[in-house]
């Protein structure tokens, strides 16, 4: 009895400590990205200005108007991608099942690129199209994968198939577009937090404030859904309803994140497993996954803007970090015979 209690407390304490540490790191990076640039601002000035603790017109212009929107976008987009990826991976029981691999991001990209190339749309319209694309592709995958319920494996395979199909249409559209539109589409497709419009960013923040608590509540049924449908049913969980709610939360989050920054690749894939490894597998870790996502995107943006000689889109850096991880994942998952 005491051993059981002690084990549970240890697991919870570890999760708590790691989550707080991650929050500190994310906040430090958030401040750091607003300090550096063509004009250096001290950490103190950044904090007092960003949180409206003091008005100092020259600093406020740089911090609040120029740097805060990008930094906030990086923080929020990373958080949304991290949470979304974690929910998908747990729900489908597969580390490869991140929404950017099972076709949700491709759906968003297809709609966004179509609106740029075919309609010559502006940024608000592109974002709305991306969101619509994420939802449409998710519904399509859900319907195609439905057979007396949803199995993770079928969902992933159909998602990957659909994703390839949509990517090939994107290829066709870009190849036949005028140079200017094609260039604009390609920039969007790489994904960068710098392109965020303020309306889209505000929408994403609202979505996070509403949906993250929902995700935390859904963590309870998620813990038994992870044990397989039969076990979850036997334990009295409402399996289909909980799963639908979890998928919906995950898709809305990634849809809004993509609307803000384009498909920033690999963040949703890697944030969950990293967080899981740090907090331990029992700790839930939804907040931790979000924070890891924020740290990755903030870090990638910092590198993309200031470390490499030419400023690059965020997606290039996350791609450079993420691709080797994916290869490692595929290699080890297959060795353990769990296939992906």
């Amino acid at each position: 009895m005491t051993a059981v209690v002690a084990g549970r407390r240890t697991r919870r304490r570890r999760a708590g400590t790691v989550t707080v540490a991650l929050a500190v790191v994310a906040f430090a990076l958030f401040v750091l990205t607003m300090m550096v640039g063509s004009f250096y601002v001290s950490a103190w000035d950044v904090i007092t200005s960003a949180f409206h603790l003091r008005d100092e017109p020259s600093v406020d212009f740089i911090v609040r108007d120029l740097r805060l929107p990008t930094a906030t976008a990086a923080l929020a987009v990373g958080f949304a991608l991290g949470v979304s990826g974690m929910l998908f991976q747990k729900l489908l029981g597969n580390p490869l099942a991140s929404p950017d691999f099972v076709g949700i991001s491709s759906g968003a990209s297809l709609f966004a690129v179509s609106s740029i190339i075919l309609l010559g749309a502006g940024s608000a319209m592109v974002s709305a199209s991306a969101l619509a694309g994420a939802l449409v592709s998710a519904v399509l995958i859900y319907l195609l994968a439905w057979r007396d319920g949803i199995s993770g494996y079928r969902f992933i395979l159909i998602g990957i198939g659909l994703s390839e199909f949509m990517l090939s249409i994107i290829g066709y559209l870009v190849a036949h577009a005028e140079l200017y539109e094609a260039r604009q589409a390609m920039t969007w497709l790489v994904g960068t937090v710098g392109q965020a419009g303020s309306t889209e960013l505000r929408t994403l923040l609202v979505a996070l404030v509403v949906l993250v608590p929902v995700a935390l509540l859904l963590q309870r049924p998620l813990r038994v859904l992870e044990l397989g449908d039969d076990t979850a049913n036997a334990l009295g969980a409402r399996v289909e309803l909980s799963r639908l709610a979890l998928i919906a939360v995950s898709i809305v989050l990634i849809g809004f994140a993509t609307a803000v920054a384009g498909p920033v690749m690999f963040v949703a894939l890697i944030a969950g497993p990293i967080a899981q490894r740090m907090v331990g597998h029992s700790g839930g870790g939804i907040i931790a996954a979000g924070l890891v996502g924020s740290i990755i995107v903030l870090g990638a943006d910092l590198v993309a803007q200031h470390v490499v000689p030419v400023a690059l889109p965020t997606g290039v850096i996350t791609g450079i970090i993420g691709a080797p991880y994916l290869i490692w994942l595929l290699a080890t998952v297959n060795r353990e015979g769990r296939g992906g």
Binding site: V5, G7, R8, E226, A234, L235, G236, Q276, H281
Partner: protein
């Protein structure tokens, strides 16, 4: 506490095939019931139907006088537990955490964990001899240990009825016996009603108080093994020619298949 689990005119199936047809059964309270039958005879389907994992095509499963589909899932889950054939252990999960998830039906959105939960988890680990493994990762355990951990999870659910779908499938003979002994302990010590789907007829005959032999979605024979299982029934159920002799340890029926070879045995047994 006594419970009454029964099926009435129950028809179960997947997509457009009926697997179990118009079946009536009463599960004896406080006893061990074992369901046997050839592959695809509908025994697992019946078990899943009893645990309301399948919605009946027609007929109903009745728990304490009410159709299970009219009861709230979580209320059924406080009385009736099921260990499915292939439960999934998430990556990296520890034994203590997994067993704790069996407490789901006793928790709520606001009452997340109580000392009652701690007590139930500790008791389940104790009963299955897995207390020492509580902090170990599931993936590190042997097949026998892992199966005991799953049983512990089902025990933590703290139900008076426990249904198990082929719990011995991946175990060697030693661990099969160990697990069935454990289930017998649970039945004798706490009066749990246990229903098991088993492949091994000899073990089924030894451990069952009540045996149900199924063929093509219907019950062919049921009752105490010693009254029910003879060579005619085994031949009918499995299409296997065999001798049935008393088990030298328990005296329950023991099945010796004939097969087409090694006929010398036949003359020996015919002579004796």
């Amino acid at each position: 506490m006594t419970h009454d689990l029964r099926a009435k005119n129950l028809t179960l199936g997947y997509s457009d095939v009926d697997i179990v047809r118009d079946l009536d059964v009463v599960i004896p309270d406080g006893r061990i019931t074992v369901i046997v039958g050839a592959n695809a005879c509908g025994k697992s389907t019946l078990l899943r139907g009893l645990a309301r994992l399948l919605r009946p095509r027609s007929g109903q499963v009745i728990l304490d006088g009410t159709s299970v589909h009219d009861l709230k899932s979580v209320e059924v889950a406080k009385v009736l537990g099921l260990l499915p054939q292939s439960p999934v252990a998430p990556d990296g999960i520890t034994v203590g955490d997994l067993v704790g998830r069996g407490r789901y039906p006793h928790q709520g959105w606001f009452r997340q964990w109580s000392s009652e939960d701690d007590r139930a988890v500790a008791a389940a680990l104790e009963a299955t001899g897995t207390a020492d493994l509580a902090d170990r990762n599931i993936a590190e355990l042997s097949g026998g240990q892992r199966q005991r951990v799953w049983v512990a999870m089902a025990l933590a659910q703290d139900t008076d009825l426990l249904l198990l779908d082929e719990p011995t499938t991946f175990l060697d003979i030693n661990h099969q016996v160990e697990l069935l002994d454990l289930l017998t302990d649970l039945n004798r010590e706490s009066g749990k009603t246990i229903v098991i789907v088993l492949h091994d007829l000899n073990l089924a005959c030894r451990y069952a108080d009540h045996i149900i032999a199924m063929k093509q979605g219907a019950i062919l024979a049921e009752g105490p093994p010693i009254d029910v299982i003879d060579s005619a029934v085994v031949t009918e159920v499995f299409g296997l020619a065999c001798e049935v002799v008393p088990d030298p340890v328990s005296g329950t029926p023991m099945i010796v298949p004939r097969g087409r070879h090694h006929a010398a045995r036949e003359t020996v047994s015919a002579a004796s």
